[in-house]
Amino acid sequence: MAVKNFGFSISRPRTIDMDKNNLRKSNEILRELPELQACIGCGSCTASCSAGLLTQFNFRKMHTLVRRGEYEGVYKELSKCMLCGKCRMVCPRNINTRKVVLLIKRTLGDF
């Protein structure tokens, strides 16, 4: 079929569609590390982040997206993390953030 070019294309929706998203990997991660659910979204991890100081990297947003089944680009984003461990020191909910980084990267693979 010939695809016509009208000078614009259909913008992709930014909506997170929880029905279409496959939550298998997300559930796998939560099973291994239930404490990740305890995140209250305070953002101190991102605020203290060494990589976040140098880039747009936002750890809180990344793991939240993963929990919603939005995996695309997360592996690449998480590769910005230097694993220095500051976030773990400041997390008010005692989440083992470094494990979260490694676990998500391991579970998602290069997605």
């Binding site: 404490e35 203290s48 060494s50 990589a51 100081l53 140098l54 880039t55 690449k76 590769s79 910005k80 230097m82 694993l83 220095c84 461990g85 500051k86 773990r88 020191m89 400041v90 997390c91 005692n94 083992n96 470094r98 494990k99 490694l102 391991r106 290069d110």
Partner: protein
């Protein structure tokens, strides 16, 4: 003498099998050694190192001096089995020479000498009989202790004994039977033909007195059969069990003295280290994860076991504080931390070209000077340390270039600890270039984690790398700053990375004693405890970290000190969470006492 008896076949087959396997294994490992290692061997083989190794082999493989130092009963157990068995072989050899002169005796002729010799021997050398029985008794006492250890390890001086896998259990079961069966076989032989020393001879007389001779004659062959089978069985399983360490420790000692070391990349030398582990279990007791948290199955002994049998799980490899306490006490001297790191690298090192491209052009440093100060990520969470260092620099009149005052690229060690070595090397390269660009001659850091990677992995030729305690000690000595001591007592907590990691024990103590009263706790220096906050452990949760920290604080305060001093921002933060007492970095103490 005719050395032909079918019961020897199990032994012959077992011994031949073991010999072939062991030779084949060593050959493969040696062939796989990288070129540098082969060069080292060539250089070391005709040097004093080889002579020293012979002494070390005798001391550690036979006498087990290091284990003796740890625990007398445990040392005796290892020594009795190793030395006792060795002496049985040596004296057995002498025995055949004495009795038979220089005529050829096959291997099994030595081993089963009593069986072949008893019916034909007419005269006995009591001293040989005595020695053989004596060493048999020694070995038997060792076996007895090993039994006891299985039931109650505490009696042998360790709290936990190692859990084994199937081949180990099989080999161990055969081994347990070897010497009691030897005793029985020789006793029955002595009861029929006479002879034997104080043990087998006396027991033989006793048997002859109370048991019918017909029964004894019918028991003779079955006992020798069993003895041969247990020996053969043990030899069959030996190369696949932990008993491989019996032989492997010998080449390991040689190779180590020829300066071979494991590296972050896996190599053939690792196999010698892995298989030289006797699974004595000393590392289990030393491990705080076991002692405080009751976590089993992750300690070095299990790590090596799982790695050897290719059943290592990531969760095991990652559940380690890498404090180095086990390495400190390992009687075989295995480089446990390096092995764990290289293993993590095998499991998790994912090279990526694109990774950390954002480093390009980053330079958030400020100030100018020949001395560079790298606070480290963790120090940014303990700003007081940073401010104290700035104050100290100012007092010393030092011109300082602050490498990471507005954020920086991490030193790379935390990532390296996760196994992602290639990515960590990108950070290392970046920081090396940054330091060179600013032409510093001295690099001071407040974080032992950074300090360790700077000294171990960075190529900083021409730059002196100092931990801030070393720097402070040097400016104190040269009188560039002076302190007014306070009437307060501190106990010093040795950070793992600074102490066992880099061998810095004295400078922190020197600085503290100039500023206040220094007190010591019993587990200090090489035996210091880990605070629990280690970046090497990816498994334990914060609650468990805190539990370790509490136990450490408790131990530190047994010294009677009022406050706790340390030299690591991570230790300081972790310990602070566990106590109401003040936990201070040495830099803070110094900056408060500056005159």
């Amino acid at each position: 003498m005719i050395y032909l008896a079918p019961f020897t076949y199990p032994f012959i087959i077992g011994a031949a099998f073991m010999f072939l396997i062991v030779v084949w294994k060593y050959a493969m490992w040696f062939i796989d050694l990288p070129k540098e290692d082969v060069q080292k061997i060539k250089k070391g083989i005709f040097s004093k190192a080889t002579l020293y190794s012979v002494w070390e082999i005798f001391r550690e493989s036979l006498l087990h001096v290091r284990i003796f130092k740890r625990s007398l009963p445990l040392g005796y157990m290892h020594c009795s089995l190793a030395l006792g068995w060795f002496m049985l072989i040596v004296v057995g050899w002498i025995e055949t020479i004495v009795y038979l002169g220089n005529s050829f005796v096959p291997l099994y002729g030595h081993v089963f000498f009593r069986f072949f010799a008893a019916p034909v021997l007419t005269e006995h050398f009591w001293i040989l009989d005595f020695l053989m029985d004596f060493f048999l008794l020694i070995v038997l006492s060792g076996v007895f202790l090993a039994w006891i250890k299985r039931f109650s390890s505490r009696l042998v001086g360790i709290r936990r004994t190692t859990k084994h896998v199937l081949t180990d259990r099989l080999a161990m079961s055969f081994l347990w039977f070897v010497f009691p069966l030897r005793l029985l076989s020789e006793t029955v032989t002595a009861s029929i033909y006479g002879g034997g020393g104080f043990l087998t001879g006396s027991l033989g007389e006793l048997f002859a007195a109370f048991l019918p001779s017909q029964l004894l004659s019918s028991l003779l062959m079955p006992f020798w059969w069993c003895y041969s089978i247990s020996l053969g069985g043990f030899f069959c399983f030996m190369p696949f069990s932990r008993y491989m360490h019996i032989f492997t420790e010998i080449p390991l000692i040689l190779l180590r003295n020829w300066t071979l070391r494991p590296t972050l990349d896996e190599k053939s030398y690792d196999k010698f280290e892995i298989q030289a582990c006797s699974r004595c279990g000393i590392c289990i007791d030393e491990c705080q994860l076991q002692k405080v948290l009751g976590i089993e199955n992750v300690q070095s002994v299990y790590f090596l076991r799982d790695k050897r049998y290719h059943m290592l799980r990531l969760a095991t490899a990652q559940n380690c504080l890498m404090c180095g306490r086990c390495q400190q006490v390992c009687p075989v001297g295995i480089n446990l931390n390096t092995l764990r790191l290289s293993t993590r690298a095998i499991m998790r090192n994912i090279p990526s070209e694109q990774r950390y491209n954002y480093f390009n052009g980053i330079d958030r440093s400020c100030g100018e000077g020949r001395v560079g100060y790298f606070a480290g990520c963790m120090t940014h969470l303990t700003p007081k340390i940073k401010i104290s260092m700035e104050k100290i620099f100012k007092a010393a009149g030092e011109d300082v270039w602050y490498a990471d005052s507005e954020g920086s690229v991490c030193c790379g060690r935390p990532l390296m600890l996760s196994g992602e070595t290639d990515a960590a090397r990108k950070m290392i390269k970046f920081n090396e270039e940054l330091f060179r660009k600013h032409k510093i001659t001295t690099l001071v850091t407040s974080c032992p984690i950074c300090f360790r990677v700077f000294t171990e992995q960075y190529n900083l030729e021409g730059i002196t790398v100092l931990h801030h305690t070393q720097y402070i000690a040097s400016i104190l000595r040269s009188g560039r700053i002076a302190l007014s001591p306070e009437e307060c007592s501190y106990v010093y907590h040795d950070p793992c990375e600074l102490g066992r990691g880099c061998g810095v024990y004295d400078e922190p103590r020197e600085v503290i004693s100039r500023a206040a009263n220094l007190m010591e706790c019993s587990q200090n220096r090489e035996h210091a405890l880990c605070c629990g906050g280690s970046l090497s452990n990816f498994v334990i949760d914060d609650f468990q970290q805190q539990k370790i920290a509490s136990s450490v604080v408790e131990h530190l305060l047994l010294s009677g000190a009022e406050r706790i001093a340390t030299a690591c921002p991570l230790c300081r933060k972790t310990l602070s969470r566990a106590t109401e007492r003040r936990v201070m970095d040495i830099a803070e103490i110094v900056s408060e006492r500056l005159t």
